[in-house]
């Protein structure tokens, strides 16, 4: 086999990748330095103006903060719930574990758009079941406007995000738990370690690599999450739950300012690129060398 053969075989795939990934990315980068609008056919080079406009926009900073909260809080809680359920499932209580594992993964396989609409109805202030349960239990009086209140809208989309992400975390943790050698627990038991100490000194250290990968992945996916927030709140009310992907749409297809939208998407891309490098490093630490 000639030395060039592998490259020739890879050629079509590389060309395809360049076309579907490289070209849009490059065009987006070019657009971010131009005054591009869907309202006009022409466009001009304006240097960094789109970027300075984005950084000078108060809405960007509010959105950045919202996205960070959405990503970090949503991921951390999803991981905590996922870990808890994985530990329960790992106890292998007869067939219940298998059934429960299947049930717990349902949120992960539901389309975010469908899930968004479902959550919107669950949280409806007048007809939603959440308010019904809360008032039936005597916790609240009357319908709380979860999605119509700027104080609670972001919290609600975070809850929906946690609900959708925890099954993935649960499956990953479950795989991690099953890979921990039983001898470690047996030795610890012989030495008189309590369940609490076994958890903190055996279970958690063994799950450290998985946890770091899940954290980074969860934050990256949350930063990219458009569907759930758009369906539930469209970033409202009054931008209270605005996140970066929704703001990109806002700049591009509500204000029709593609240049500014491109600049913002490049900023988000750069952020995610940094996180991806962190992820790759975390993943490589997970693999024994």
């Amino acid at each position: 086999m000639r030395k060039s053969t592998p490259y020739l075989l890879l050629g079509p795939a590389l060309l395809f990748t360049a076309f579907v990934l490289g070209y849009p990315l490059l065009q987006n980068l070019i657009n971010s330095f131009r005054d591009v609008s869907l309202l006009r056919a022409d466009s001009e080079w304006i240097g960094l103006r789109n970027y300075t406009q984005v950084f000078g926009d108060d809405l960007f900073w509010l959105t950045f903060r919202n996205t960070a909260v959405y990503a970090v809080v949503g991921t951390v809680f999803a991981l905590l719930i996922g870990l808890g359920l994985a530990i329960l499932l790992n106890m292998k209580i007869g067939r219940i574990s298998n059934v429960a594992a299947a049930l717990y993964t349902i949120p992960w396989v539901i389309s975010p758009v469908v899930a968004g609409f479902a959550w919107k109805w669950l949280l409806n202030d007048n007809f939603g079941i959440v308010n019904y349960w809360l008032s039936s239990a005597g916790i609240t009086r009357g319908g709380i406007s979860w999605l119509g209140n700027p104080q609670t809208a972001l919290l609600c989309v975070i809850v929906a995000r946690v609900w959708q992400f925890y099954p993935f975390a649960m499956i990953m943790f479950l795989a991690g738990l099953q890979a921990i050698p039983r001898e470690q627990y047996e030795a610890a038991s012989v030495d008189g370690a309590t369940a609490f100490r076994r958890f903190f000194h055996i279970t958690l250290p063994n799950l450290r690599a998985i946890t770091s990968v899940l954290l980074v992945l969860g934050v990256i996916w949350s930063f990219n999450d458009f569907n759930m927030v758009f369906v539930m709140t469209r970033g409202g009310p009054i931008n209270a739950s605005m996140v970066l992907p929704v703001l990109v749409r806002e700049y591009s297809f509500v204000h029709f300012d593609l240049g500014r939208g491109s600049a913002l998407s490049i900023i988000v891309f750069t952020l995610l690129l940094v996180l991806s490098v962190v992820y790759l490093r975390a993943a490589s630490r997970r693999e024994p060398t």
Binding site: L38, G142, G148, N149, P150, P237, I238
Partner: protein, 426 residues
């Protein structure tokens, strides 16, 4: 086997060499509309195809909510349909940008123009050109839940103070559990465009303008316009007579609340009766003009509300403008417009022939809508007005009503941003 392949190849070549069909294909996009209207338009297109055998029409139904995104994406690519059914106030934005064909270029335009109520067709004009034939006129009015009004023994309000008082009286705890479960008013806050369309009628009724007549100055922060915003802010923050969750509501939720007697009033238009009827058959409502400030009660029937309308336009890039024009006339002539009287299309007919016909006398609320439309004003014919309404008036109006900013501060900030948009700084 070889012969079979040769035969197939010959057939393929023969097919590809067949002379092109003489049938012209017209693409017609319809945005939104009630099911009855969509069905009617389908039948109307079929009748057009029967009388115009050389033209085939491909109809597509598109999302009303994505109208600007879809049109801009297509127009900027030099594509799009031949015939489009869109907002009339897009005439300035899309006509000014050269995307709509000026209908006044057609030789029989003057005759066609005479079919319509004059100020309706004027709403489709921008800089001397007419960019669409009117369809489905709408005046924003106050709809009142008849059951709740009758039970409380109140009549639809005519002035702002009556409006506040009625809303207060109709806000109550109906089941005695100590929690308010019925509100006087609901606002559509989950759709920024829709919200601006519900705020503007009160500004106009108060005698305020959105922009100056020459469209160079922003006027929606004038004292009268701010008073309209303050009215809602007081109702929300002081009286608590507006549903607390209005910022999340879309039309669907408003219909649910109205139909289930959880709200007594909403700012809607002729579409609302049909929506409520679908959701709650037998439910009745009062449709009355939007209340006026107390000092303008003498202008209750004449003060302008917001007019909205749909129009049929032709894509300036269409290769078949003449065939498209024939289709548009067929869809919008008096004969076609009569269907807006015989069927509840959720909007008002726009031709004089239909509105002056004997059938018009039997249509419920029509005299009130005709009167309101006689004085109503559309959004100013400025290319940036939709951006100003959706991206500036609506969010700042919401901030004022929810108490994040005072009404004056909110409208001043909105005016500042609107000025930047008009001057092209944004």
């Amino acid at each position: 086997m070889m012969n079979l392949h040769s035969l197939a190849l010959c057939a393929l070549v023969a097919l590809s060499c067949t002379p092109k069909s003489d049938v012209v294909e017209i693409h017609d996009w319809n945005f939104g509309g009630m099911p009855k209207m969509i069905e009617f338009l389908r039948e109307r297109v079929e009748s057009f195809e029967r009388t115009h055998p050389g033209v085939r029409v491909v109809q597509s139904q598109k999302s009303w909510n994505m109208i600007r995104e879809i049109l801009y994406a297509d127009f900027s690519a030099g594509a799009g349909p031949d015939v489009i059914n869109v907002h009339a106030n897009y005439a300035a934005e899309f006509g000014g940008a050269g995307h709509y064909y000026p209908l006044n270029k057609f030789p029989d335009f003057e005759e066609v123009r005479s079919w319509y109520v004059p100020h309706f067709i004027e709403s489709t004009m921008y800089k001397g050109n007419t960019y669409g034939l009117p369809c489905s006129a709408i005046a924003f009015v106050l709809v009142c839940n008849k059951e709740l009004f009758d039970r409380e023994g109140v009549v639809p309000p005519r002035t702002w103070s009556e409006f506040r008082e009625v809303a207060r009286r109709l806000t109550k705890d109906t089941d005695g559990d100590g929690v308010v479960d019925q509100y006087g008013l609901v606002l559509l806050g989950g759709d920024r465009g829709g919200f601006a369309y519900r705020l503007a009628p009160f500004m106009l009724k108060a005698g305020a303008n959105i922009l100056s007549d020459d469209m160079t100055k922003v006027e929606f922060n004038s004292p009268r316009a701010v008073a309209a915003v303050k009215l809602f802010a007081d109702m929300y923050q002081v009286d608590h007579s507006i549903t607390p969750g209005f910022l999340a509501y879309t039309l669907s939720e408003i219909n649910d609340l109205f139909s289930s007697n959880k709200v007594a009033m909403s700012i809607e238009g002729p579409w609302f009766r049909a929506l409520v009827k679908d959701k709650s058959p037998g439910k009745d409502l009062y449709a009355v003009p939007v209340p006026v400030p107390d000092d303008r009660i003498d202008q209750y029937d004449t003060a302008p509300t917001l007019q909205d309308m749909v129009m049929y336009s032709i894509n300036a890039h269409s290769k078949h403008v003449n065939e498209a024009w024939e289709l548009v006339k067929h869809l919008r002539n008096v004969e076609s417009d009569m269907a807006w009287l015989s069927t509840d299309m959720g909007a008002i007919a726009t031709t004089m022939g239909a509105l002056n016909s004997p059938e018009a006398k039997n249509v419920r609320d029509l005299p009130m809508y005709i009167n309101e439309l006689k004085h109503a004003r559309p959004w100013p014919s400025h290319p940036k007005i939709i951006a100003i309404a959706n991206n500036v008036i609506a969010p700042y109006g919401q901030k004022a009503i929810s108490g994040e900013l005072s009404p004056q501060e909110a409208m001043d900030r909105a005016a500042e941003e609107a000025r930047e948009i008009i001057e092209g700084k944004q």
